[in-house]
Amino acid sequence: MRKITAALCAVLPCAAFAQEGIDSGNTAWLLTASALVLFMSLPGLALFYGGLVRAKNVLSVLVQCFAIVCAVSVLWLVCGYSLAFAPGNGFSSGFIGGLSKAFFAGVTEGAVSGSVPESLFAMYQLTFACITPALIVGGFAERMKFSAMLLFSCLWLLAVYLPVCHWVWAGDGWLFRLGLLDFAGGTVVHITAGVAALIAALQLRPRHGFPQTPMMPHNMTMTVTGAGMLWVGWFGFNGGSALAADGNAAMAILVTHMSAAAGALMWSAIEWVKYGKPSALGIVTGMVAGLGTITPASGYVGPGGALVIGLVAGFVCFNATHYLKRVLKVDDSLDVFPVHGVGGILGTLMAGVFASSALGVFSGQGYAEGMTMGRQIGVQLLGIGATVAYTALLTFVLLKLVERIVGLRVVPEHESMGLDTTQHNERAYDMQSL
């Protein structure tokens, strides 16, 4: 999303640019991309996650995804967009935006950002802010109170997402200024969500019965449906981050697609070798790993690089999932950290490698002027480290806070009855109603 911020740099100082023309083709694509990224959250991710939990908890997952999207949207209007993308003040300007765009001040029908309406840029970015906390749901699924979940998600958006987004994508963000390559959210979205899910899983402790009792997905067809939607929606996620309908966007969706395919095939191959059979859950999980991992790299690498990135994603995320759940016995319910967190780290790193234009068939679009592979990897490592550390610390503190205020976890009886009945007074399925 390099261009975003470049564009913003130019635009922010003077609103007079608003008169400048918008490009209808770029606008058409970003309108579409906004719909696609919303589609990833609702119903894509909701179904992907919902199918994986037990029948007694599926509605709780769906409601959580919906409620997060709604609450984040209102926060975005109030101050979120401004804190992420308005120019910051003085010393803190590298860390957090100012309030000059609170309540979308100045985001009128005529305001322009780059070659698209600023209202569209704000809408598009909102869809990213929505899906990030929704991803975390997978870490604490099947045991968190709804009230705690909602409070935590709002606080987390304000305290974690908005600052990190500013660091990486705002023109005055400190990581942006260092030249961090994160095209569509390896650090901003996947690392923050993955790390937060891990911390939440640790702090909430495992679901009752874990790990002896198998907690099988209640509806794998729902998960596969959601997976297909995620794949399609990711075209908007990565392709839209070019903020234009051009070669950059086109190449972004092509490499995104290749990495998804490679990740899926790798995960399936490992299962096939190890267990004799490739599974549905395996192929779609590998696909998500491939998609998450290519995300930061998608605007910088070529198809050959994408193939390698996807294969590495499938391999590493498979083993990370296995290690975390089976060896360390951490109950990150839907494996958010090993897939998104690890994928985001891997991808941010590999963006620094495969952006190089000197790798033959594995070449990317090349580094910024004056950048070398060594220095770029250094910046990528710094970005990863800062994001991981900041997210882990803040998430821990916020969860402690929420625990104090409303408590984190439902009582054991409610956990065994399921969250649908106890948190939402509903059952998902009623095939017998006469």
Binding site: P214, M216, P217, E271, Y275, K277, S279, L281, G282, T285, F318, T321, H322, K325, R326, D335
Partner: protein, 112 residues
């Protein structure tokens, strides 16, 4: 009257139904159940971990028959449901105190 309750492998349902029809059994009730016995379940994959699933899907068939038909019916089920492998199932036979047909109120053997 006797009530035969057989637990069989799901894919044998059609065969058993036909076998019973052949000897003149006119009604039955079928329920989906899960069970285990000697047969101990199978493993399933879940993101890189294998789990054992103990309870396997089975079909329960309930057939009420006149006492003199019971043996023939057991015979028919045995033959149709057998694969010779574990998990083939069981037949449980109960005495029925009484049977009533709701439509007519008839009871006893005519009601079967």
């Amino acid at each position: 009257m006797k009530m035969l309750i057989a637990i069989i492998k799901p894919f044998k349902l059609d065969a058993v139904r036909e076998a019973l029809a052949d000897i003149g059994v006119q009604g039955m009730t079928v329920t989906e159940v899960r069970g285990f016995g000697r047969q101990k379940g199978h493993t399933e994959l879940y993101r890189g971990a294998e789990y054992t699933v103990d309870l396997l899907p089975k079909i329960k068939i309930e057939v009420a028959v006149a006492p003199d038909m019971a043996d023939k019916a057991v015979e028919a089920i045995l033959k149709a449901a057998k694969t010779g492998q574990i998990g083939d199932g069981k037949i449980f036979i109960y005495d029925l105190d009484q049977t009533v047909r709701i439509r007519t109120g008839e009871s006893g053997i005519e009601a079967v």
